[in-house]
């Protein structure tokens, strides 16, 4: 006898992600991931000037604005074979790095830690014991008895006022919550401290991007940040040092708090290092280009099939034909007209909604494939590709993570544990540590280049008559993002965005191969079908971001979300 659970939180974002699972004997046997909103927003770009495309693409999603802007200018530059000056490359890289750190800190603390941390349990914590435990794990100055006591008091006040609603997805008191009250208090304290650090790193994006969200400083051909060391209104040494101070303080938080918390939670929920691996093919693209031509990158890219790390195949340039040729999208189980699998340059987006039928069509999301295979993208892919290609900082931070978590758990953890639900959180933290180091490096590259007297920021794009095709990619916080543009006589003829959450949340294809969310849920235990916390844990570990492109504020409190167990 199996139980069918639908988690369909049609929250105030109209139409969203719906997850269905079939549970038998307390374990998920089958899963379906469905995007509940038509996402054909690229059509809005047709006929427009390619130089303006990035302004539109960064409104595709309210949270991932920066990544769509960067990818769009890269796609148009690729179509024109246009190089950008080194300063523009480094400024973009710093924005990319700061955005990624911000996104990952917010994801772990504000958006998913509460899947693992029982906030209410922290009220029972012994403060001196919490401080002693914290001191055994880290030198972080924010781990004082005074700080823990203050947080405990504030939490008590919050609970007594009945304001715990923000933690609705926390399922406190759930049998799958396993941390001691002291660890819970430690985590809640860092949850609050993280608010300040995500704000600091966000300020880096704001300084360099002129504004955030929705940066203003990009241009096809470079950036619009005028550089003049003697002018207060431009990018000068004072601004650069402000950026450096912010990056330094955030690096300390990442290494002394985020790193330690993920290791500790991983060690204390070791059983979650066994579930949730999912699709075992991985894709990541290279990023943080080091020169004007983008011939070398500080972050590696490549593909891995069947978890075979020895045969990793590298992706090495913005023109890489291996990447360009192998990306396609299938609509076999999606609500679109036709039944094809096509290359993004050739795709069209003609909606044809029927009904939700897991055996036929069940999602607005297309199913991206690489050489016909479903691929998992995101931090786990990034770290595995880094590991497989011998990327020094990735290997070093991955080993340090496994050692530290292993010590806390009193066991030895092999790299294979990363292929799991909690492993995805660990990979995201490893990637954040790596990016934090590289942000330092790219700050130095920028300062040195400006110091040499190079203030160039922009190369003028020229649009020839006739048709050009171009693609741009970016290894965004959630994984590989690519934009594909066809330009005719200086106007956009076709535009497609293949986004990370489409790779991960997409449905089955014509061969019935499940997408990463679907595959990762199979085998997960479900302790309570009314409160399927485990489903949320695994889906949240991907950091889903579907159709954030719309929202309407519900101030009058309609019940908009439901969990159905049939």
């Amino acid at each position: 006898m199996s139980t069918h659970i639908t988690v369909d939180p049609v929250t105030r974002i109209e139409g969203h992600l719906r997850i269905d699972v079939e549970v038998e004997g307390g374990v998920v046997k089958k899963a379906w991931s469905s995007g509940q909103m038509f996402r054909g927003i690229e059509r809005i770009l047709i006929g427009r000037d390619p130089r303006d495309a990035w302004l539109f693409t960064q409104r595709f999603c309210g949270v991932c604005t920066t990544v769509h802007a960067i990818t769009s200018v890269r796609a148009v530059e690729n179509a024109l074979k246009l190089e950008i000056p080194p300063n523009a490359q480094y400024i973009r890289n710093l924005i990319v790095a700061a955005h990624a750190m911000h996104d990952h800190i917010v994801h772990f603390y504000q958006l998913s830690a509460l899947d693992w941390v029982d906030v209410v349990s922290a009220l029972k914590a012994d403060v001196p014991k919490t401080a002693a435990l914290a001191a055994s794990l880290s030198d972080w100055p924010g781990n004082s008895q005074k700080e823990f006591q203050a947080v405990k008091d504030r939490l008590a006040g919050f609970v007594s006022k009945g304001q715990l609603g923000i933690f609705t997805n926390g399922y406190w008191g759930h049998p799958a919550m396993k941390l001691s009250p002291e660890v819970n208090l430690l985590a809640v304290t860092h949850y609050l401290q993280a608010l300040d650090y995500q704000r600091r790193v966000n300020k880096v994006v704001a300084i360099l991007g002129s504004k955030t969200p929705n940066i203003q400083n990009l241009a096809v051909g470079g950036v619009a940040n005028a550089i003049n060391l003697d002018n207060d209104a431009t990018l000068n040494m004072a601004r650069l040092y402000e950026v450096k101070d912010l990056l330094d303080s955030v690096k300390q938080f990442i290494e002394q708090v985020y790193f330690v918390d993920v290791c500790a939670i991983g060690a204390m929920y070791a059983e979650w290092l066994k579930y949730g691996g999912g699709v075992n093919n991985f894709l990541a693209v290279p990023d943080l280009p080091l020169d004007a031509k983008a011939t070398a990158f500080d972050l590696p890219g490549g593909t891995i099939f069947n978890l075979d790390l020895k045969n990793v195949k590298s992706i090495t340039s913005f023109e890489d034909p291996y990447f360009q040729k192998n990306v396609s999208e299938s609509i076999a189980h999606s609500w679109y007209d036709g039944d094809w699998q096509k290359h993004p340059y050739e795709e069209e987006t003609v909606p044809k909604y029927t009904s939700y039928d897991p055996n036929k069509d069940y999602s607005w999301i297309k199913a991206p494939r690489f050489d016909g295979h479903p691929m998992q993208v995101g931090p786990l892919a990034q770290v595995l590709v880094g590991f497989a290609t011998g990327h020094e900082p990735t290997v070093r931070w991955a080993k340090k993570t496994l050692d530290t978590a292993g010590k806390i758990a009193g066991t030895t953890l092999p790299p294979t544990v990363l292929y799991s639900t909690l492993g995805r959180h660990a990979a995201r933290m490893i990637r954040t540590c790596v990016i934090s180091e590289l942000a330092d490096k790219h700050w130095n590259l920028l300062a040195e280049n400006i110091g040499k007297g190079d203030t160039r920021i922009f190369n003028e794009p020229v649009f020839p008559k006739g048709e050009q095709q171009g693609f741009g990619f970016h290894e965004a916080p959630r994984g590989t993002l690519s934009h594909w543009v066809v330009i005719e006589d200086g106007k956009i003829k076709n535009y497609q965005a293949v986004v990370p959450s489409t790779w991960n949340a997409g449905p089955r294809d014509a061969k019935d191969q499940a997408g990463p969310y679907e595959a990762s849920l199979v085998g997960n235990p479900i302790a309570d079908t009314e409160k399927p916390l485990e489903v949320l844990r695994t889906v949240h570990s991907f950091d889903p971001c579907i159709a954030c492109a719309i929202h309407t504020l519900d101030v009058e409190g309609r019940e908009l979300s439901r969990v159905l167990a049939l």
Partner: protein, 182 residues
């Protein structure tokens, strides 16, 4: 005392673009002084928090779900927004104003005072234009903003020269490429 005026919504999704449209129209026509910062923030979810972290007072313009005719403007205060607690969610990027305010309140931060200028939308779907009733409500929302800011003690002056350029997302955008140069 610093006040932020934040336009929320997606300018590519029809009436959802009301917030950004209104704050832009307000900024084109009025000067509220150095203590008022006017920003089109898009749909940032919890990324709203950096804007609210140090703010003392925030005025938000957004679409709202409510009974009434499309284009109707409704004002809410902080207590109204927080009265109904958010519900369970799956996408970590669902949370918005309410969650950002509650999270900051838990941290002992965030604005003391919040005013929401809301409009009831007609059509929310892919489009770069507002529907007729919602477009018609823009001037009223701008007036409401002027009243709210004046009520908060700011001196709001009509600009001597009011240059109203079509927004970059409008269909009638000026020769392309110019918007990237600003």
């Amino acid at each position: 005392m610093r006040t932020y005026v934040l336009g929320l919504g997606n300018v590519l999704m029809g009436d959802d673009g009301f917030g950004p449209t209104v704050v832009r129209a307000f900024d084109d026509a009025f000067d509220a002084g150095a203590d008022v910062e006017v920003v089109d923030v898009g749909t940032p979810g919890l990324d709203l928090m950096p804007w609210l972290f140090d703010a003392d007072r925030v005025v938000i313009v957004d679409t709202v779900k409510s009974d009434g005719a499309p284009g109707t403007i409704k004002l809410y205060d902080k207590a109204d927004i927080l009265r109904h607690l958010p519900t369970a969610r799956i996408g970590p990027h669902d949370p918005g104003v309410k969650e950002a305010l509650l999270t900051l309140e838990f941290a002992g931060r965030g604005p003391r005072e919040v005013v929401l200028v809301g409009v009831i939308p007609k059509t929310v779907g892919m489009a770069t234009e507002l529907s007729a009733p919602v477009a018609g409500a823009v001037p009223d929302a701008v007036t409401a903003l002027v009243d709210v800011l004046t009520g908060l003690g700011h001196m709001v002056r009509r600009r001597a020269v009011c240059e109203v350029a079509p927004p970059w997302w409008s269909e009638t955008v000026s020769p392309a490429g110019t918007s990237t140069a600003s």
